[in-house]
């Protein structure tokens, strides 16, 4: 069996393990929502440490990584099934929070990239924008553990909605970033036209899916149409050089909002997210280049501190406007440091789509943010939720993981 074939089988086994982890706990701690532990595993088995997976081998799986990342984008988009005005407000708050975290991350990146590496503006601009994209979103996967016992008005539900809203700027930012990168297949269009084409194609595919699946819902047929539209959209996006993740995210969003079978489609697709995430995370970890720039550690610490500070201040602000969050204590903002699978997916796409050193730097940043968020943010989030007696200790564990967005009752 060829080396690539062996790695493919290993990735399938990893997918299997990921599927088996759906709805389960690892001891008292929820299974990582961003795949951070598998990113770390990828670094360990990758060319920088054990060398089990060489850099050339990771190149053979670029297509798999990009398609997998686009699939996570679709899953994220499908999660938007709500229609109530209250949830819209929460989602908007989440979007604003993400933008503020992104802006500070971008500012920190701009300053540090100039002072540490003296990069040209033409490199610093996409780097700063990319840092804004990968450092803005927060995860709500962990709050899913508490959802069975948490009311919609509870802190877990509220944070879940906020976190969901934070994915929107990530998707849109990623689309803008890739629309501005030179060397496109759509070079005769302006960047805003490329951006519009990205989102417009996603809308078109989402409407097509909704129209084709408007009849009675048959799972086998639905998979064929959904997968066909997904592969067509993501393949075309990568071929012409726009953001596949943003395109599929938009497609998922449109399906969630327009299709009469949106909730069935979401329930059909969501369980696949873990199985897709883990191999992608492993490949991302193996693709990381820690030596891409000198003093990289200092850069990462600086950007993450900026993110943490904004997150903390955002939490303080949210405490002033929400009684649920006020009860959670002053540290609730740190609980928003957890990173999502969607962010990692965007970072994977940027790694391969943007020229060096921007792409690889963003991947390292996203990985570090993910690990930091899992270690510190998760702990604080659980602490905050238990502090308001939204205890998961007696909660049954749902079979459906991550990104699930409950409809209003």
């Amino acid at each position: 069996m060829s080396e690539a074939g062996g790695l493919l089988v290993a990735l399938l086994v990893l997918s299997y393990l990921g599927s088996a982890l759906v709805g389960r706990r690892a001891g008292r701690v929820a299974v990582g929502s961003s795949g951070a532990e598998y990113v770390v595993l990828g670094v360990v088995v990758g060319p920088e440490l054990l060398g089990v997976v060489s850099r050339e081998l990771t190149q053979e799986f670029v297509a798999l990584s990009r398609v997998g990342a686009a699939w996570l984008g679709l899953v994220a988009g499908l999660g938007f099934g709500h229609r109530s005005s209250r949830r819209l407000v929460r989602v908007t708050v989440g979007g604003l929070l993400a933008i503020s975290m992104g802006v500070t991350a971008a500012a920190a990146t701009w300053i540090l990239a100039d002072s540490l590496w003296d990069l040209e503006a033409s490199t610093r601009i996409p780097l700063a924008l990319g840092a804004a994209v990968v450092c803005s979103a927060t995860a709500h996967d962990l709050t899913r553990r508490f959802a069975p016992v948490a009311a919609a008005d509870g802190l877990a539900g509220l944070l879940s909605d906020i976190a969901r809203g934070s994915t929107l700027p990530v998707a849109l930012g990623g689309a803008v970033l890739l629309a501005t990168v030179p060397g496109h297949g759509l070079s005769e269009f302006t960047w805003d036209a490329r951006y519009a084409l990205t989102l417009g194609t996603g809308v078109l595919l989402g409407l097509l899916a909704s129209a084709l699946l408007a009849r009675e819902f048959r799972q086998a047929e639905s998979w064929g149409i959904l997968l066909g539209l997904f592969f067509l959209g993501s393949g075309i996006a990568v071929r012409v050089g726009v953001s596949a993740v943003a395109l599929t995210f938009t497609m998922g969003l449109v399906i969630a909002l327009v299709s009469r079978h949106g909730s069935e489609i979401r329930q059909m697709v969501e369980p696949t997210s873990k199985a897709v995430l883990l191999p992608i995370a492993l490949l991302a970890g193996a693709a990381i280049q820690p030596g891409i720039q000198p003093l990289l550690g200092l850069f990462i610490v600086g950007v993450l501190l900026a993110r943490a500070l904004t997150s903390f201040l955002g939490g303080l602000l949210l405490r002033r406007i929400s009684s649920s969050i006020r009860r959670a204590g002053p540290g609730v903002g740190f609980g928003l440091l957890t990173s999502s699978a969607f962010t990692l997916a965007v970072a994977v796409e940027l790694n391969y789509a943007l020229p060096s050193p921007v792409g690889p730097l963003l991947l390292v940043l996203a990985a570090a943010s993910s690990v930091f968020g899992e270690l510190f943010g998760s702990w604080q989030l659980v602490r905050s939720l238990r502090g308001v007696s939204e205890d998961d200790r007696a909660a049954p564990v749902s079979e459906v993981p991550s990104l699930h967005f409950r409809r209003d009752s």
Binding site: S2, V9, V13, A63, E221, G228, F231, S234, I236
Partner: protein, 454 residues
């Protein structure tokens, strides 16, 4: 592949499907015009999506005129392929070969799992007699036909008698090759239940083993005739025995493992099937074991040595619903249309004679076996299709005999193209006319006759 539905789509739904089909073609065309030169793997992704969508939509539209879904998948591949609209190029079609590997794994597993011992006992005599007569008559007549038509066949018209006989013998074996994928595809779509469906499946699956064995013998006989040196080597028999026995042994072990897994774990079957399709197939080829026979045996063991057969079938069906569309659409894209244009007279003649021989042999074997009327009338219908297995054996011959291999393979491709298009239509018509096509949309039952029906 979608099965029969409980309600036909409305005119609006069909219109939506038609519009969607046009949009899909248009999107990929637009992307092709504006794409940069990226890695080929990324072009494969878009191609897979296109073939899957176009195949699904075209098959739904063609359903209105009674054509089988398989025809829709093939046509989607032909239209979008490298010889018509060029939306999917040659390199992309070649890169889709892993899909074929996976599809053949699923086909073999499903084929084996459909063969219940209770069914086989009922049809064993019919299938045995049909196999004997079809193989014998088909081989003799098609060998003679090839020799008779050799003046019109470019690579054969100057061969001496001995090598011509060797080549004709190889052609005769290929002529009795059938298509398990087409058979299963039509049965899955129509959810057919009855004697014709039962007989067809059992015969087609059994013929796989027969053809593989006969091809090994034919190669052994043809080699000294064509190359003009040496005698018949028993080494080839040894290799064949190793392949057959090894396949059954591996398949049995795999089947037992699958039983244990289905019984104890029962989850993530999709991933298990993917690992089998991609990982196990490569390993089996490495140790010179036939993957098709291995998975056929595994499916058979699961069905007949446990209560997990229906679980396996259900899983394979779910995965196959998507994989088979791409498989057949890729086969359509692979059809060499210019070659068919060049060789169509001789290819058509060979196909027509093959069909005639098949019908006559089927009627005779049915009379000898005392088959019921539906099988007598329509039993031949599943035997016309040819697809991947025939093409694969054509490649084997081409590699074994480089002197005429290219021309031989071209003729194989041309005849398979015709049989691949016509065969499934014929089989579906037969199932419809014999009243075995189901209109229910329940979870697909096995096509084996229920105990009370026998």
């Amino acid at each position: 592949m979608s099965g029969a539905s409980s309600s036909s789509p409305s005119a609006t739904a069909r219109l939506v499907q038609g519009v969607a089909l046009v949009v899909v073609f248009g999107l990929l065309y637009a992307a092709m015009q504006n794409s940069s030169q990226l890695e080929a793997e990324l072009g494969v992704v878009a191609a897979v999506g296109f073939l899957l969508l176009a195949g699904t939509l075209l098959s739904e539209l063609l359903e209105t005129i009674g054509l089988p879904h398989l025809t829709g998948y093939l046509l989607a591949g032909i239209i979008g392929g490298p010889y018509v609209l060029h939306l999917v190029d040659h390199e992309t079609v070649d890169r889709l070969s892993p899909v074929n590997t996976l599809a053949l794994t699923l086909i073999a597993l499903a084929g084996g799992a459909e063969l219940r011992l209770s069914t086989l006992r009922v049809v064993a005599r019919s299938v045995g007699i049909a196999s004997l007569i079809q193989s014998g008559i088909g081989l003799v007549v098609m060998t003679a036909t090839f020799m008779a038509l050799s003046p019109f066949i470019p690579f054969a018209n100057e061969l001496a008698w001995a090598p011509l006989f060797g080549v004709a013998l190889l052609w005769g074996v290929l002529a009795i090759c059938r298509s398990p994928s087409a058979c299963l595809g039509i049965l899955a779509q129509t959810r057919a239940k009855g004697p014709v469906a039962t007989f067809s499946l059992a015969f087609i699956m059994a013929s796989d083993v027969v053809v593989v064995t006969m091809m090994a013998c034919a190669l052994m006989i043809a080699k000294p005739l064509v190359t003009g040196g040496g005698g018949i080597s028993l080494d080839d028999f040894n290799l064949l025995a190793h392949e057959l026995v090894g396949s059954v042994a591996f398949g049995t072990t795999l089947g037992l493992l699958l039983i244990a897994y289905l019984r104890l774990v029962e989850k993530n079957l999709l991933l298990v099937l993917l690992v089998l399709g991609f990982g196990m197939t490569e390993f089996l080829r490495y140790v010179h074991i036939d993957p098709l026979l291995t998975f056929l045996t595994a499916g058979f063991v699961v069905q007949n040595m446990s209560a997990q057969g229906d679980k396996l079938l259900h899983s394979v069906e779910n995965v196959g619903a998507v994989v088979f569309v791409v498989f057949f659409a890729t086969a359509g894209a692979h059809l060499d249309i210019p070659l068919l244009k060049k060789m169509w007279p001789i290819a058509l003649a060979l196909c027509l004679i093959r069909a005639l021989v098949t019908i006559v042999a089927a009627r005779w074997s049915s009379r000898v076996a005392g088959d019921p009327e539906p099988i007598r009338r329509w039993g031949f219908s599943s035997m016309i299709s040819q697809a991947g297995l025939t093409l694969g054996l054509g490649v084997v011959v081409a590699r074994a005999f480089p002197s005429f291999g290219e021309g031989f393979q071209a003729l194989v491709i041309a005849t398979v193209a015709i049989n691949e298009l016509v065969g499934p239509i014929l089989f579906k018509v037969a199932l419809d006319r014999s009243g075995e096509t189901s209109s229910e949309s329940v979870v697909r039952p096995s096509i084996a006759p229920r105990p009370e029906a026998t």
